[in-house]
């Protein structure tokens, strides 16, 4: 365990980092001790990645000090970080799959003689490195021939190298199953016992409580606090992460419109997919907004995907307007009047090279088929109507959408679906990464649509946003539904308690 009196291995003081328009790190001070697993938590945009990148020399800090072993260090590039004993394993395994384990392990530091690689000693070196993480695999086997978990261990073995003092694990468990996670945790405990300092970044709260000694929470680039894991309840932790002081939150009174008598539009019964989402029941009524709450990685996006048919469920059944229908592909969903704005706008929403007009008209055109092209005059009329209605800021509807700001791109994607006049609109993080003005506009649009009788399924990481508009909230955790909060039971407090329970 951590000895409080022992001086910290690494301390950072008053670190600031700005990007254009964003204060990514705001006066952050933290200390990390040897033999300690220190969980670093925060929602998207909290500053975790930026902090790690500052520590590993990928970003230069604007100001602040980093002290290692009592000495001030300047980490200007990843080589400096390596030499200081700071090693990182990223979520996306940073190894070369087509090379052997030994080649991967010795890639940057091959034993040579007269400029020639000494493969025999490279192999024995690789064996030693594998032994440190308790892996018994053939160093000559190809990396791809091993499971993701083993690859992850190899990545850790490489990171540890010879003189690692601080190991940063950036979401190492995201693609592991529970046995593999247990194995990783064993390794972490073993390294801890050897005096390694470990920074553990994750979104899974259970894992935080299973392995960490200390928890630091970041929010919007600021350090919220550092806590002993044993002295912090999950509810308090979630409150800190989301920036809500639970005692201050009252059950605010809400006007609940009568949606209980309205017909059910989409009903999911035990719909799930192995490795993606545990079976979920969900009923969506006409004119109802159902919010999906939960931390990152809780299964919000996965539920949206399955509801729309962007991913094919392998369990359960769906009913649409009382009829049992197969809704397994986007095409089938669109035919029934379901629309979906995915979270990843850049890779799954916009088509950057195409113009605003083309992006906006795409879903409507696709539902009409390629042969009946919407006449240009009609396209222009529809597009200018929506540019005005959603106040999309673009100089010209023929401008490539890639040149618009994030908020305006999001409005175009929203308009893409509104022109198809859907009965159910699924929005995954509709306000992610957009400016305040557009944020406000989009929330207003959501409310208007609902009043017009459209049903909405909205996933959001902003609890207050969900509280503001949802008639019903489905709370997800660890890729499964944990509870459903209805009507005037909905409050920030009740949602956070459900997430943390």
């Amino acid at each position: 365990m951590t000895d409080v009196n022992q001086p910290p291995l690494l301390s950072i003081e008053h670190i600031n980092k700005r990007f254009p328009g964003v204060r990514a790190l705001n006066d952050v001070s933290l200390t990390f001790h040897s033999g300690e697993v220190h969980a670093l938590l925060g929602e998207n945009g909290a500053g975790k990645s930026t902090l790690i990148k500052v520590l590993t020399g990928i970003y230069a800090k604007d100001s602040g000090d980093i002290t290692l072993d009592g000495r001030k260090v300047h980490i200007k590039n990843s080589q400096d970080a390596q030499n200081s004993g700071i090693r990182t394993v990223y979520q996306e395994i940073n190894l070369i799959p087509t090379m052997t384990v030994a080649e991967n392990l010795t890639l940057l530091d091959q034993p040579r003689r007269f400029g020639m690689i000494r493969w025999r000693s490279a192999q024995s070196q690789a064996r030693e490195m594998l032994a440190r993480v308790g892996l018994d695999i053939d160093p000559n086997s190809l990396l791809v021939s091993h499971s993701i978990a083993v690859q992850q261990m190899v990545a850790i073995a490489r990171a540890l190298g010879s003189k690692a003092r601080l190991l940063i694990l950036d979401e190492p468990t995201a693609s592991l199953d529970s046995d593999e996670i247990a194995r990783l945790f064993d390794l972490m405990r073993q390294l801890k016992a050897q005096g390694m300092a470990i920074i553990f970044v994750t979104h899974f709260l259970d894992q935080v409580y299973a392995i960490s000694d200390t928890i630091s929470v970041l929010r919007n680039g600021s350090h919220v606090g550092t806590f002993k894991t044993s002295a912090l309840s999950q509810t308090e932790l979630v409150g800190h992460m989301l920036g809500k002081d639970l005692d201050m939150l009252q059950h605010e009174q809400r006007d609940i419109t009568e949606t209980e008598e309205k017909p059910v539009v989409l009903s999911l019964s035990q719909v799930g997919k192995t490795g993606m989402l545990k079976p979920v029941d969900l009923n969506l009524r006409q004119g109802e907004i159902v919010g999906l709450a939960g931390l990152l990685g809780s299964g919000r996006t996965e539920l949206c995907e399955l509801a729309y048919g962007a991913a094919r469920s392998d369990q359960g059944s769906k009913t649409w307007l009382g009829q049992s229908l197969p809704i397994n592909t986007p095409k089938q969903a669109i035919e029934q009047g379901i629309a979906y704005c995915p979270e990843d706008r850049k890779h799954r929403g916009i088509i950057a090279e195409l113009s605003v007009r083309e992006n906006l008209i795409l879903a409507l055109q696709s539902s009409r088929g390629w042969w009946s092209r919407i006449p240009m005059a009609e396209q222009q009329a529809v597009v200018s109507e929506f540019i005005e209605r959603l106040s999309i800021k673009t100089s010209d509807m023929e401008k490539p959408i890639g040149e618009l700001s994030g908020g305006n791109q999001q409005k175009v994607i929203l308009a893409r679906w509104l022109v198809t006049n859907p009965k159910l609109l699924i929005l995954d993080e509709p306000t992610r990464g957009i400016d305040v003005g557009a944020h406000h506009d989009i929330l207003n649009i959501i409310r208007e649509l609902c009043e017009e009788g459209m049903s909405l399924l909205v996933a959001s990481s902003e609890v207050e946003e969900i509280v503001a508009f949802a008639h019903r909230v489905v709370v997800l955790r660890d890729r499964g539904k944990v509870s459903e909060i209805v009507g005037n039971q909905i409050s920030q407090k009740s949602i956070i308690q459900a997430i943390a329970q």
């Binding site: 962007a310 592909t329 986007p330 095409k331 969903a333 669109i334 979906y340 995915p342 890779h347 799954r348 929403g349 916009i350 088509i351 950057a352 090279e353 195409l354 113009s355 083309e358 008209i361 795409l362 879903a363 055109q365 696709s366 539902s367 009409r368 088929g369 390629w370 042969w371 009946s372 092209r373 919407i374 023929e398 893409r416």
Partner: protein, 338 residues
């Protein structure tokens, strides 16, 4: 096409047109009589007509290539398809009594089947286009050799010869044929939503899937179209020499076609189809060849000069160069203001 659609006369779009214009003017200065057109027996002759005549095979396969590249694909097999379809045309004409139109239909059908093969590998089996079409690129000439029995098969048919060297309303018949195909393609792509769907699939296949576009079928169709274009080019080339040469017909022509698409300003990463400019690109390539040959430059310099000028065109199009020129122009203006 994009010009008409969006009225965005950007430097990028203008570059190929200006290049072609400068190339013609430059050649006319060096080669007297280059621009001269004469009418003999009601047929127009001249170097410019000759360029159109010679560029038809490249223009046709470049048309198919532009559409394929727009979907983030590539078709390396068009040269081999030209050889196969040329062989089919020659063998059927030489050794059967079939009507030339039926022969033509068979050749075109064979080209489309070749395209279907490519499309199936890409769309159904998910093989990378460059690898998938490489297979037919290699095997195709072997198939053509099997059809011709390993020999150069010569044939005679007035109808098919006319496709190679005849005239229609004063213009070379093959130019008219290519122009009709190009016009139909432009109409189909831009008067239906097909062009937009293809560009959407090429630009972002995941987004296209989420809006319900059946990208597999579209990709399949695109390779079939490319095979169709290559088949017509194959018939024209065979008709031109009145025979089928399995080894040399259309050799390396796929590279000229890709070059034409690139000169048009399309990116090999897909998302945009510039049909008109691709044809301009094919004309640039042919004008260069003709200009070098008629200017009396020693033949050994031919390829080097051609490559250099194409490099120049591509450099002019690059964003780096254009930003540099813009910055220079601005600082020059500022200096002259001051």
């Amino acid at each position: 096409m994009r010009l008409k659609r969006s009225m965005r006369w950007e430097a990028r779009t203008l570059a190929p047109i200006i290049s072609l214009f400068l190339l013609i003017v430059g050649t006319a200065l060096v080669v007297p009589g280059f621009l001269k057109l004469s009418i003999v027996d009601g047929h127009i002759y001249g170097s410019l007509i000759d360029i159109l005549h010679r560029s038809t095979p490249t223009a046709l396969i470049a048309l198919g290539m532009a559409v394929v590249i727009g979907t983030k694909g590539i078709d390396l097999s068009v040269g081999a398809i030209i050889a196969i379809c040329g062989a089919v045309t020659a063998v059927l004409t030489a050794s059967t009594e079939l009507h030339p139109l039926i022969v033509l239909g068979c050749a075109v059908l064979v080209g489309m089947v070749c395209g279907l093969w490519n499309g199936t590998l890409v769309a159904v089996f998910g093989i990378q286009p460059i690898v998938a079409t490489l297979i037919l690129m290699v095997a195709g000439r072997g198939i053509a050799q099997m059809i011709t029995g390993g020999q150069i098969v010569t044939f005679h048919s007035d109808f098919i010869n006319a496709i190679g060297n005849g005239f229609f309303m004063g213009l070379p018949a093959r130019v008219v044929l290519a122009a009709v195909i190009i016009a139909i393609t432009v109409l189909v792509l831009r008067k239906t939503a097909l062009g937009m769907f293809l560009e959407a699939v090429g630009g972002n296949s995941e987004t296209s899937r989420l809006v319900g576009i059946d990208s597999k079928l579209l990709i399949l169709m695109v390779y079939v179209f490319s095979g169709f274009c290559a088949a017509l080019a194959g018939v024209i080339i065979a008709a031109d020499i009145r025979g089928a040469d399995a080894n040399n017909a259309g050799l390396w022509l796929e590279l000229d076609a890709i070059l034409a698409v690139v000169i048009a300003g399309a990116s090999l990463s897909g998302g945009r189809i510039y049909l008109g400019l691709t044809i301009v690109g094919a004309l640039i390539i042919q004008t260069l060849t003709t200009a070098i040959l008629t200017s009396g430059l020693p033949a050994q310099y031919n390829l080097i000069v051609k490559a250099s000028i194409i490099l120049l065109v591509l450099l002019l199009q690059s964003k780096v160069t254009q930003d540099f020129i813009k910055a220079r122009v601005q600082s020059f203006r500022r200096a002259s203001d001051a």
